[in-house]
């Protein structure tokens, strides 16, 4: 597949996230790929040890992504769910299975550059086996009109001794209405790192994210980091949930949200629970402005407070 066979606006939005797209198209580069153009499968590349199967349904696709036992790939598996239309409904039902002893990165891009009433839904299931190292990154671009309604739901099972890293970024363009729900179940000795970043830029932007980790196995560990900025009337609500349901598990939820401009709202609702006396679960949250000391340090280099704030926002939301 050649580059000019895929909507240029979608590719451009990926480049805006500093994603190198030269190896992105099927037939190029070394990684497995699944590209969607609205509800049509635009291209599939499989590599050894990675099975990608997609089936079109009336409003989207059902996809199976299977990483075969022992597969280790440096090149990421690329998933691109692009819509170059203003309206419509795109529903994705992915099932990702990483068998035991695998090591892979999956990079998913959801790009809706012209969204103006567009609905994107995802209902994903992840099954990560034992002794895996699985990195899942999802970046979104919803155009500049706050015109998307995006509602992904993910259930993730992380097997014994596995490391699972989840990175979700919604920092470019305008989000529109976003409701995200992620449930991660961590088994014995597993390690979970979940990083969420979102940027609401106008009063038409409303972001609600619930990121939950259930520490179900002995000695399972997790850190959830949620970072958000709401400005010019934007609204962000972050739920960070961690339950310690097993001996010696250890979890932490951290939430930092910056509010700028009149009418903007940031809310954080950490929910933590421990039912085992040997578990340790903690949370911290800070909302409002950046710490004065950070601003002072940058202003002592000749920056105004507004310039210092912009530098700190850029750093905070950097991928």
């Amino acid at each position: 597949m050649r580059r000019n066979e895929y909507p240029q606006e979608i590719l451009q939005s990926l480049e805006d996230y500093n994603i190198d797209i030269k190896d992105f198209m099927p037939g190029h580069g070394g990684g497995a790929k699944l590209l969607l153009n609205f509800n049509k499968i635009a291209g599939v590349d499989q590599v050894e040890g990675v099975i990608l199967k997609g089936r079109e349904i009336p409003n989207g696709i059902v996809a199976d992504i299977i990483i075969k036992e022992g597969t280790k790939h440096e090149e990421p598996v690329h998933l691109c769910f692009g819509v170059n239309k203003e309206t419509g409904v795109q529903e994705i039902f992915p099932r990702i299975i990483a068998e035991d002893n695998t090591s892979v990165k999956v990079q998913a891009h959801c790009s809706f550059p012209k969204a103006n009433g567009l609905i994107h839904k995802m209902f994903g299931h992840f099954y990560i086996g034992k002794n895996c190292n699985f990195n899942y990154s999802e970046t979104h671009y919803h155009g500049e009109n706050s015109g998307a309604l995006v509602a992904p739901v993910g259930y993730m099972y992380i097997g014994e001794n596995s490391i699972f890293e989840n990175n979700f970024n919604l920092t470019q363009g305008t989000p529109g209405k976003v409701k995200i729900m992620i449930d991660i179940y961590a088994m014995q000795n597993s390690i979970i790192r979940s990083n969420i970043k979102a940027y609401g830029k106008s009063k038409k932007d409303s972001i609600r994210i619930r990121d939950s980790v259930f520490l179900e196995g002995e000695n399972a560990r997790s850190v959830i980091k949620m970072k958000a900025v709401a400005r010019n009337g934007g609204e962000v609500l972050m739920y960070g949930v961690t339950e310690g349901n097993a001996p010696h598990c250890n979890g932490h939820v951290e939430c930092s949200e910056i509010v700028l401009g009149k009418g903007s709202i940031c809310r954080a609702r950490p929910f933590i629970r421990a039912i085992d006396p040997t578990s340790s679960i903690s949370h911290e949250a800070s909302l409002g402005r950046f710490p004065q000391k950070w601003l002072d340090e940058l202003m002592a280099k000749g920056l105004t407070e507004d310039e210092a704030t912009e530098i700190l926002i850029e750093a905070m939301l950097k991928e």
Binding site: D296, K301, L303, A315
Partner: protein, 267 residues
């Protein structure tokens, strides 16, 4: 030698104005010198540093502050930084996502050859540019590394005055020795240093000093003289006789020290 910074009858109260932290303090900092402000914990040293820098939560209730002949008493932090004052913090912040390169480059006015300027600043503080250039100034940097990056950022600005607030805190002796060499490098770059410290070994690199004692400026003179006074106020005669060496020689004979201590006792 001209004065770069002049404090005239400076009084700094607490934010609620109920207590005075620094009381009617006057002294000058000569251009191109290292001037140490010493005193015990709680004597107002850091308050003085933050007030000179212009931090919003430190306000002057009385007196004037002159920098390079300009009255900066009512200038903001940003305005003072643009004039050529900066501060390297005692405990610099860890900021997730901000790279060493970006942080150091913020204060560089002329952005030409930016990468080389940042690398040069890193070399000045004895950090290998290749190892640190892309690092993030978060908790992955040790306390000593973060302090060096802070110094590099201050040096890269090429300010006229660098205020160093307790640069020795949390560092081991070997690192402190290295820091003293860095201070001399800064001086060689024609920058003036206002050094806030309570340690004699750090202060001995200074040309001049001011002793702050419970908010009052007791003495401004050449640094060893100020240090003897500090020891006399603190009742540390043996320490004073043992510790005050400069350029390999003892600063004062024991008789002089005994005399200063007797005078202090009579007060």
């Amino acid at each position: 030698m001209n004065m770069l910074l002049e404090l005239k009858n400076l009084t700094i109260p607490t934010l609620d104005q109920k207590c005075v932290i620094v009381n009617n303090v006057s002294f000058g900092v000569k251009k191109g010198s290292i001037h140490a402000v010493i005193g015990p914990n709680g004597s107002g040293k850091s308050t003085l540093a933050y007030t000179i820098m212009g931090l919003d939560s430190y306000k002057i209730s009385q007196g004037k502050l002159y920098f390079d002949g300009i009255d900066i008493t009512n200038m903001s932090l940003t305005e003072r930084a643009k004039l050529g004052i900066t501060l390297a913090w005692q405990e610099p912040a860890r900021i997730d996502g901000l790279s060493v390169f970006k942080y150091i480059s913020l204060g560089i006015k002329d952005k030409s050859n930016l990468q080389e300027k940042v690398k040069e600043a890193l070399r000045t503080v004895n950090l290998e540019p290749e190892r640190y250039y892309n690092r993030i100034i978060d908790e992955t940097l040790s306390g000593g590394e973060r302090k060096r990056v802070e110094l590099a950022a201050a040096i890269a600005m090429r300010p006229k005055l660098i205020i160093l607030d307790e640069p020795d805190s949390g560092l081991d002796m070997i690192v402190i020795e290295d820091f003293l060499n860095i201070f001399n490098k800064i001086k060689a770059l024609n920058m003036t240093i206002l050094l806030i410290t309570h340690r004699e070994d750090i202060g001995m690199v200074a040309d001049y000093g001011t002793l702050l004692w419970r908010g009052d400026a007791i003495l401004t003179d050449e640094f060893p003289t100020v240090m003897v006074k500090y020891c006399a106020k603190a009742g540390l005669k043996e320490f004073c006789k043992r510790a005050l060496f400069k350029n390999g020689g003892k600063c004062f004979d024991d008789e002089y020290i005994d005399r200063i201590f007797r005078e202090e006792e009579l007060l």
